[in-house]
């Protein structure tokens, strides 16, 4: 179809306008994080960059031990992501490549987990984790999140699209199941793993309710809680410092998002297709 030049220009104008509005909150946060306290409170507001970057970012970093919290969040997100991917891969392999008694029931049990998000079971989950003495520990923030229906379903979908000839050929070659899993299946699953890394890392990094309940010491807090602590600590509400803290904490998930964007787009959309 031939598209008129004027239409193309309209597309660009509309896109740029939309991008501008979507990016505006973070853009303004970036601007304010460069200003001195006087500039932050100027009236009318100053909407241009200034040169107080270093002071704001170091103040934000030190006021609530952002470094420690960044480490906590990163460590937890990485450990949950690794554990979840391993468990989901193994479970999906079992469901797609074997026939066994109770398969239907076990699969149904995994589907049921979709009905039990954290808020629905939080009262007793808190008791369980306290019973293990896991309050204020990494274990309490990591282990409960290792099993996931999302990951298992995503890998099942991927495994089902792999040609059956590959399994048959491996069996003829005398390949044992786990050899097939590591040598054939895993290399073909890279995009899906990439997508799940993005989904899980961002999901855990951004979690709020559970870390708020499962920790209460400053050295075990995560960055999401840290933002609120920073807002409370900045008693004069110096938004320059608070927004500097915000910018620092959004860098890791954005980094993961941008480097894995392509496999994320490919694997993520699989979720809605059955």
């Amino acid at each position: 179809m031939i598209v008129k030049k004027r239409t193309i220009v309209t597309f660009h104008v509309l896109s740029i306008l939309s991008v501008f509005i979507i990016c505006l909150p973070v853009l303004l946060a970036l601007i304010i994080s460069s200003q001195t306290e006087v500039q932050v409170f100027s009236n009318p507001p100053k909407l241009t960059f200034s040169n107080n970057w270093v002071s704001n970012y170091t103040t934000a970093w030190n006021r609530v031990d952002l470094g420690r919290m960044m480490f906590n969040s990163a460590f937890i997100a990485i450990m949950v992501t690794i554990g979840k991917i391993i468990m989901s891969l193994l479970a999906a392999f079992a469901f797609t490549h074997f026939d066994f008694k109770g398969k239907g029931i076990l699969f149904f049990v995994i589907i049921i987990t979709l009905l039990l998000p954290v808020p629905v079971r939080i009262v007793a989950l808190f008791d369980v984790v306290r019973g293990f003495d896991w309050i204020n520990t990494y274990a309490g923030l990591i282990v409960p999140f290792w099993a996931s229906a999302t990951g298992t379903f995503l890998f099942i979908q991927r495994f089902k699209t792999i040609p059956t000839e590959l399994v048959d050929a491996s069996k003829i070659d005398g390949c044992r199941p786990m050899q097939y899993f590591f040598r054939v299946l895993l290399p073909l699953t890279k995009n899906t793993i990439g997508a799940l890394v993005v989904i899980e890392f961002i999901y855990i990094w951004n979690q709020y309710l559970w870390p708020l309940m499962a920790t209460n010491t400053d050295n075990m807090r995560v960055v999401q809680i840290g933002i609120k602590m920073l807002m409370n600590a900045e008693s004069s509400n110096n938004w320059g410092v608070i927004m500097a803290g915000v910018i620092i904490t959004i860098i890791p998930p954005l980094f993961v998002f941008f480097i894995l964007q392509e496999s994320f787009m490919k694997g993520f959309a699989l979720q809605s297709e059955k």
Partner: protein
């Protein structure tokens, strides 16, 4: 497609074991225990329990504050879902047009997906704060967060903004899968582009719309906790105190364990209801995490 299988009888159970150990300890047992506790009175200091029948449920249902919270949760989720679906569909249609740079615009529009609800809360707090919020300044010094209705709208806007990227990813995939020959056939029959969109495209992408309806509803009910805690803490005067925030306060701040467990059961019923709607309308599975 049915995958060719290995003959092993024991291995599949070993592969599933880690998943099921975690599921039993951290999902099924706590869920079961939460439901059980909803029928008990629990002493917050000694954890001693006493069977109380439907006592907690009666207290929940006859509490006008809870009714209020229930009402605004429904309103909140409807607002977030409708705004989210309409805006992201419009943006996806734009991004799906054939023009240079569409891919870059796509990236620049979906990246807020990577931000957390709490961050969205902090950003909107900064934009709308009564002291020197930039948007307050440009709206005639109107203090959005001090009045219930406008605070509610700000929270809904922040929640919608944060989730646009997620919706756009799914809509773009769906739009790409609309068969071009049906669109071309309609064009030959003289259907204009607007008519083609409403008659053909919307029908083809309706499964995605249902899917996003469910995902955005669960997002509004549960994931917006961090957003509200950072932006309004449920206020002013409970105007943004949705069910999940109420549950958090009752359980964690006020230690009303049996009562909070009953609230959890209400939330569970909502999840089940959303899931049933999903199954009935599209026969697809809900992906909630």
């Amino acid at each position: 497609m049915k995958q060719s299988v290995f003959p092993s009888k024991v291995l599949p159970y070993i592969l599933l074991l880690p998943t099921f150990i975690i599921l039993i300890i951290f999902l099924f047992y706590p869920a079961f225990e939460t439901f059980r506790l909803s029928f008990y009175k629990v002493n917050p200091y000694t954890n001693a329990t006493k069977f109380a029948g439907l006592y907690n449920f009666k207290k929940v249902f006859f509490n006008p504050d809870y009714g209020h919270s229930f009402g605004i949760s429904i309103l909140f989720s409807l607002l977030v879902v409708m705004l989210g679906i309409i805006i992201s569909l419009a943006l996806s249609v734009l991004l799906n047009q054939n023009f240079k740079g569409a891919k870059i615009y796509r990236t620049l529009m979906i990246w807020p997906y990577a931000l957390s609800p709490a961050i969205a809360g902090a950003l909107f707090n900064f934009l709308f704060n009564p002291a020197n919020g930039i948007i307050c300044f440009f709206s005639g010094n109107y203090t959005w967060l001090t009045s219930g209705n406008s605070a509610f709208i700000v929270v809904a806007l922040a929640a919608t903004w944060k989730n646009l990227g997620y919706n756009i990813v799914f809509y773009l995939t769906a739009l790409r899968n609309v068969p071009s020959d049906s669109l071309e056939a309609a064009a030959i029959d003289g259907a204009g582009s607007v008519k083609r969109f409403f008659k053909i495209t919307l029908a083809y992408i309706s499964p995605t719309t249902f899917f996003l309806f469910v995902m955005n509803t669960t997002y509004a009910y549960f994931a917006s906790f961090g957003l509200i805690d950072v932006l309004t803490e449920g206020g002013p005067v409970d105007s943004t105190n949705i069910l999940i925030y109420q549950l958090y306060k009752d359980f964690f701040v006020n230690s009303r364990i049996g009562y909070a467990a009953a609230e959890s059961l209400v939330l569970f019923c909502i999840v089940v209801l959303i899931t049933v709607v999903q199954f009935k309308t599209t026969g697809k599975k809900v992906h909630y995490q």
